[in-house]
Point group: C2
Chain length 557, copies 2
């Protein structure tokens, strides 16, 4: 790993900052960004990502932090933009591996982090969480000054920040939409962005998630109005699912239920957890207490509204159990209504579709986007991205929080504006992006990528293991055990290959045994005999079945 | 299997028809429908389906035809609505297992069937293909009279049909949209539908694919105009992908290329195959011959347009190979444009997204829906579905070609119309739907479902094998071979479990050996010793890794 900052700055050279995205650049997920100025490092966020379909059996993915571990002594502080999993979900895995430094974040963000750390058995004293308001300035190390500012998003207390360094000013939007009617009335701090733009922004990092979407993202208030119109017209029980972290959405649903004279029942661990944290910290207000599901007995169907987990079709979620009829306490029936106040995240389409179909089969009424406008993205569309670029007027631009398609469309959008950035880079995780008043380029790379978390294991599964899983999932596995004494014979076991087939098994055993016996006659080494058996069986199986199962040849001498 | 038709009709009972969907009812894919009147059966289509993500390693899925095999002697004829894989893709597997009966279809449909059968080595004489025009009437058996009529869709020569039987008249739309500007000028035969509606339709089966989409589906002509506007503005080479079977789309692209002074190069086996069949049968006209890719040397970039396979992100397709830089002859470069005149079919979103991102990374310009309106569905939306229902005015209604969500929304749409059907059933594959002038109900079921095709195997993979594949893909496999003589020891092999880990292997070997030795001391039977080893290792592995790999315990005595 090259380390361009270790050397002292040459006489007269402009001071420069390094921006080193370790996650979230060229992808949507596991956001983590390091800033380095001379011998000081500041880190932003530490998120997780969910596996793609070829990453089989993986629970979740966290970013590689080799760079931070190798420069652990330089880390002066950490800031958190908001409480979404793709920004804080990696903290329990990452913070314990690095020195204890101040971690700054807003109230709800830190509340969710505390909850998360305690689930992992990490004690309060092991981390140095410091709460900030969303206009606070904090100093990190001697070179970094951070000023938080409010941005609307699909979770409260969401922040962007201005980072002032000797090499220039960086503005990072964080995740955002420019909701003009946010549920708590607290709009994005465009005035601060505009002022910073006038004062001069060297580099802008901005959220590219919806860079391909034209127009503006629908407001949370519009979603609430649509939900209320819909719910007001429903007669039976109502079951609504949404992202548990969308505290404003849940608050709006609670308010709607109250006005529509429905009591609210929360169902599902994560739904209850977020509601508890939000209530405790004052981000959620209940006009009347939640009911437990066994307290609804005296109520009529039209007096109850369940808020459930399961918006992504997760198999163990409440909505899935309801759809498949295996919820312990509640059974759906004709006359019930289910509202999916959500969209499937890419990769979850099939699971959500399955749940929706099962709900239809039960005979309940099902409401979901796009025909019912009961969800809005938390990320701004092209008009909102343009507003930020127009106000910030950055010299340099890094489209962030997006795959290449989103980054590049964000970059192109910037070029169409009246005052485009002087230079835009499409960076990737691990790039060392050097920024100074007169320079903006990638000067090297550091290790970056995915660490797989599976069960209790963190990092004990690599791409080689995943490749084995993919191969076995495609063609199954065939294990041949050749026992040499007293007379050679071969046993066959398979999984996921073909249905039990004695004739085929016998043929394979014969092919394997022929290879073994010939090898023994020729007095080959055992490894070579094993390889011969492997090759003979591979060719035979391919010929008669057209398949390539994973073959495991074992020889017992 | 109950067989309600075997008994002679009771005195005075109204004659009845049985509609028995064996595929395509409650799903989108592998369409096949049987009609039975007394001791005569007529079959419609025989399609295939593509696997869902949990059907791992499966190449394709064909319908179970137990009912047809058990009643093979009653089959009097077969009709084909159009040449899509979900309607004819099962024929090479199914026709050879049943008696030779007349198979009726339009010119292009039969041309594609012939091509397909010959790929499978099925000779012309083995099947009795009979070409019809799309207004022909054919008699099948003594009771079935079939009249084809034209419906627009995303492939030429697409048919609906009227089936007249002693029990009433069935109208089946087949797949359709009501394109008012089809490329060949041949619109859907709404006049025939209207007349049949006036004459009286007992039962309507209609395409539910887009029953959740409001308004009308975009016309093929509109797509062509958008493509031409786009292509006219492009300077470099153009690569366009679409569904190879969409002959009209490809024809339009050829015409656009000609007007824009670009020569066309066809790339990809299926693209070439469909174009050849369509040309040979007069469904495609070339203003000038296709070029081979090694003939473009003398042309400038803006004089060439490649039509490629790969609209679904298939790994071996031309577009994927171009995107990943491993095409043997062509390398994409900045200045090229790629147009995806297609949408991902559900399940292919991730693969298509990967290709699109790689194209962006290469630096080519990429154009695709929805921002560029360069694709339209082949299936009609709610207004078109309503038009059919209003014209046909059926007494009974079976929403077909859809999952439950599509079927039920189609049924609801029908109820909102001025003259709703008297009764609508949401049927599933295998239902025996009894239809007479005064009755419409499900009276029984026959076997129906999926036969998996994998490699050369048809039906040798069942859900048990797939479950093994899913389990191995999630947690890997661990094989323990216990050798008892001369002294007991245990060997461990794993795939897809964890990275090579000597310490863990040693621990597992010890746990296994302890179990073995204890069992031998207690003089247990070998099966019980093996089960003990299995149980001990399962508990140990779960405790230390949090995982449940597939465990294979082998004992060599
Ligand atoms: Zn977020
Ligand atoms: Zn995010
Ligand atoms: Zn079709
Ligand atoms: Zn179809």
């Amino acid at each position: 790993m090259s380390n361009p900052s270790k050397a002292p700055r040459p006489e007269g050279a402009a001071p420069h900052l390094e921006v080193i995205p370790l996650g979230g650049m060229g992808e949507i997920g596991k956001n983590i960004t390091a800033y380095r100025f001379e011998d000081e490092i500041m880190v932003v966020d530490a998120g997780l990502a969910f596996p793609e379909s070829h990453q089989m059996g993986i629970d979740l993915i966290i970013p590689r932090i080799d760079y931070l571990q190798q420069n652990a002594g330089l880390i002066k502080g950490w800031i958190l933009t908001h409480g979404h999993e793709d920004h804080i979900g990696g903290l329990p895995y990452i913070l314990p591996r690095l020195p204890r430094v101040p971690v700054y974040g807003a109230g709800l963000t830190l509340g969710l982090v505390r909850e998360k750390l305690s689930e992992f058995g990490i004690k309060d004293g092991e981390v140095d969480l410091r709460e900030v308001d969303l206009s606070d300035k904090v100093k990190i190390g001697t070179h970094f000054q951070v000023e938080f500012f409010r941005m609307t998003h699909s979770i409260p207390d969401n922040a962007g920040y201005l980072l002032t360094t000797p090499a220039g000013v960086v503005m990072h939007t964080g995740d955002f939409k420019l909701d003009e009617e946010p549920s708590d009335g607290k709009t994005s701090d465009l005035a601060r962005i505009e002022q910073a733009g006038k004062d001069g922004i060297t580099l802008l990092l901005s959220d590219s998630t919806n860079a391909e979407r034209q127009g503006r993202t629908v407001s949370e208030a519009e979603v609430a109005r649509n939900l209320e119109t819909l719910i007001a017209g429903l007669k039976g029980r109502v079951f609504l699912t949404t992202f548990a972290s969308n505290v404003h959405r849940v608050q709006n649903v609670i308010n709607i239920a109250h006005r529509q004279r429905r009591r609210v029942v929360m169902e599902g661990r994560s739904m209850i957890k977020y509601a508890q944290v939000a209530q405790t910290l004052g981000y959620m207000e209940l006009p009347e207490p939640f009911l437990a599901s066994d307290e609804v007995g005296g109520l009529q169907d039209q007096q109850v509204l369940y808020v459930c987990t399961g918006s992504q079709g997760q198999p163990m979620s409440v909505l899935s159990r309801l759809a498949f009829g295996n919820h312990a306490k509640i059974a759906l029936r004709r006359g019930d209504s289910v509202i999916l106040s959500s969209n499937p995240i890419p990769g979850n389409e099939e699971a959500v579709n399955l749940v929706i179909n099962r709900l239809y089969e039960i005979g309940v009424d099902v409401y979901y986007p796009p025909n019912y406008r009961v969800h809005a993205s938390g990320h701004g569309s092209q008009e909102e991205l343009a507003t930020i670029l127009n106000l910030a007027r950055p010299k340099y631009f890094l489209p962030w929080h997006g795959e290449p398609r989103h980054q590049i469309n964000h970059a192109r959008l910037a070029q169409t504006l009246p005052r485009p950035p002087k230079r835009t880079l499409i960076a990737r995780n691990g790039d060392v992006v050097r920024v100074s008043q007169d320079d903006f380029k990638v000067t090297g790379t550091v290790p970056a990528g995915a660490v797989y978390v599976d069960g209790l294991g963190v990092g004990d599964i690599g791409d080689d293991v995943l490749l084995d899983r993919v191969n076995m999932s495609q063609e199954g596995i065939l294990i041949m055990t050749a026992v040499l004494h007293p007379t050679p014979h071969v046993e066959i076991v398979s999984r996921g290959f073909v249905r039990a087939n004695r004739e085929l098994d016998a043929q394979i055993r014969k092919v394997a045994l022929d290879a073994i016996e010939q090898g023994l006659r020729e007095k080959k080494r055992l490894e070579d005999v094993r390889d011969d058996m492997y090759g003979a069986v591979r060719r035979f199986v391919r010929k008669v079945t057209g398949r390539n199962p994973v073959l495991i040849p074992l020889i017992v001498d």
